[in-house]
């Protein structure tokens, strides 16, 4: 029975993502409770250079699988590499960020190792020499507390819930580079092209502020007023399901149970009535503002602050006022 925590250090284009630091910080805390070490795993092409810096966030050791063939993420190849590292190290916990990659890789490792899995955890606690987690189900309409009956437990953490500690520049991790034999079978799926996100467009999952619109926008043109406010705040623009189903906004902007679940610092809901499935997707936002002409709209019961009124008047006024306030 191991007592180490093995953490997938997610990177993009050779740079570690902030979610990797979040996971390592939590992994270190878990390892301390278990009396083990926090071991980060970096997989990719050209990831070795930055690997030792993961020590600044708490990694005791970093295992690097650096291979030109691993330039692009595919579940099959990364999954193979990651689960081999896991099985060699016999950890108590396998920790990832609940990003697209992290969830996929967690699923692969769970199946490869026959290990129980919980995705998107928002709380964890040490318990009887193991880890217990709490995670949202039904998109946050309820939460479950999960106990693992077998080791390792594969756990992914919801991004932005656990914040990374400031890096300690005096620390550095031991780096172990390993070579893995990858066969053709591991490359049955191949990334042919990456279509990067539109420049300047902020993803709703990563945004600190989201300005979101619903049916009250009356049409795709209506979003112009939201775009202006979002531009000023450096915010992402989100949308309700109705709006997406109507084709006014792309699917990737949808917030709610069949879209993205977000928890930004500030969520400004404009012309959104507040259907249950939408509330499920944004109710964990730190501060919620609702602007709606209908004083009985359910969104007001979830919002911290509300303005009853025509969003086409209120939102431009808000943009102007914030412009004044932040100079």
């Amino acid at each position: 029975m191991g007592n180490n925590v093995l953490i997938f250090a997610e990177q993009m284009g050779g740079k570690f993502r902030s979610v990797a630091y979040e996971a390592i910080c939590q992994g270190k805390k878990m390892a301390q409770g278990l009396g083990g070490k926090a071991i980060a795993v970096a997989i990719g092409a050209g990831v070795e250079a930055a690997a030792k810096d993961l020590g600044q966030y708490g990694a005791d050791k970093v295992i690097v699988v650096d291979n030109a063939k691993l330039k692009d993420f595919t579940v099959d190849a990364y999954g193979k590499a990651f689960s081999e590292v896991v099985s060699k190290n016999d950890p108590a916990v396998v920790l990832l960020a609940a990003t697209f990659q992290g969830k996929d890789l967690g699923g692969y490792a769970s199946a490869a190792l026959g290990a129980p899995l919980s995705s998107d955890c928002t709380e964890w606690a040490s318990l009887d020499g193991g880890i217990q987690v709490k995670r949202p189900i039904y998109a946050g309409k309820a939460y479950v507390t999960v106990k693992f009956n077998s080791q390792p437990a594969v756990i992914s953490l919801r991004p932005k819930v656990f914040l990374a500690d400031a890096p300690d520049a005096s620390k550095s991790a031991e780096v172990e580079k390993i070579d893995l034999a990858l066969s053709d079978d591991d490359f049955r799926s191949v990334v042919k092209e990456i279509i990067a996100k539109t420049a300047g467009k902020i993803d709703v999952i990563e945004a600190d502020i989201i300005v979101s619109g619903g049916r009250g926008l009356k049409g795709p043109e209506g979003f112009a007023v939201l775009e202006e406010l979002a531009g000023l705040l450096g915010a992402a623009v989100g949308a309700s399901r109705t709006v997406v189903d109507e084709g006014w906004r792309p699917h990737s902007d949808q917030i709610g149970q069949t879209g993205k679940v977000v928890s930004p610092k500030l969520y400004i809901a404009c012309g959104i009535s507040g259907a249950i499935q939408h509330l499920a997707g944004m109710r964990t936002s730190k501060c919620i503002v609702a602007i709606n002409k209908d004083p009985e709209a359910p969104i007001f019961s979830t919002a911290d602050y509300g303005i009853v009124g025509d969003l086409f008047k209120v939102v431009p006024a808000l943009t102007a006022e914030i412009k004044k306030a932040i100079g």
């Binding site: 109705t242 189903d245 109507e246 009985e296 709209a297 359910p298």
Partner: protein
Amino acid sequence: MKFDFTEEQKSMMEVGRDFAEKEILPTQEQDEKSHHFRKETFKKMAELGFFGCVIPEKYGGNETGHLCAALLTEEIGRVSASWTLPFNMQMWGPAFTILNYGNEEQKEKYIPALVNGDVIGAFAITEPNSGSDVAGMGTTATETDDGYILNGQKMWISNAQTADMSLVYAYTDKAKKHKGISCFLVNMKNNPGIKTAAIETKLGLFCAPTGEIAFEDAKIPKSALLGQKGEGFKICMWQLNNTRLGCAARGVGIARGCHEHAIKYALERTQFGQPIAEFEMIQDQLALMYVEYEAARLLVLKAAYEKDQGNIGNTLSVSTAKYYAAEAAVNASGLAMKVFGSYGYSSEYPVERFFRDAKSLQTVEGTSNIQKVIIARAILSK
């Protein structure tokens, strides 16, 4: 006796609900405002087989039955009363009537095209001076060597201006009174003797076209006669006993729409520091709406069930359902308006639309008074 729906019936209700919410609701507000009949919605209904419920597979239908049709009508009606009209008309109107009274040639010519939506159907009974008194109509069909010549005027005809074909009731022999009425299958397009005009002055049901038809020496062929000469009144009564079931189901849909909206609103709206649903007078209104909805629905389901068992001429059940559902819809919309307070009076909320649409049910296809006459005659003759 079983009160459970089959899995198939539940699936059909789900299709009806999804269709209403995804295909009708999103554009409802603007379409109602602009009195717009959306042809593509009509075509989508056809593609899903809505118009084929009571039509055999041989003619493109699906034989899911009257009960299924009534359930679909309720699901559509709870969102849009307007849209139950083109639906019911297409199916229970001309198609089902031709199925019963038409010859093979007529069936093949019209029914598949009505079911697949290529042809929009209508039926024309009412005239400016003849409503409840069907036999008081003035339209005539004068027989010639090669056909008939229609003269007269029809009013309040659903689909008048959009229809490709219509059942037209007209006198072939005025002296024989109601036994001198005949029914014709009339092609509405490309006939210089037929003119139609939309009626823009109605109170509600704005997405469902309604109009008037003027026949001025309109020539139609011999083959246009449906059934026998002089059989028109019988056909008309038979047909109304089917289309009325649609009206009743529409009433159930409206009553349900009203009570659902009222419940939601009563739980959301707070006054005096609590949701208004906590107040007993509001509860009284909600309970009444529910009771009447439930009762109307059971009457409709019973009448539809009887038809599915082969008892098409079940006038007592249909008229009972039609009378009660119409009153239930009108009551429910009035009560919902009270629950909504001033928002009930606003055209930004759906209640006032239900209020306007519901009123039509006390008039169309036999007024509430006529239904009571039919009911009384039936129970007194027992």
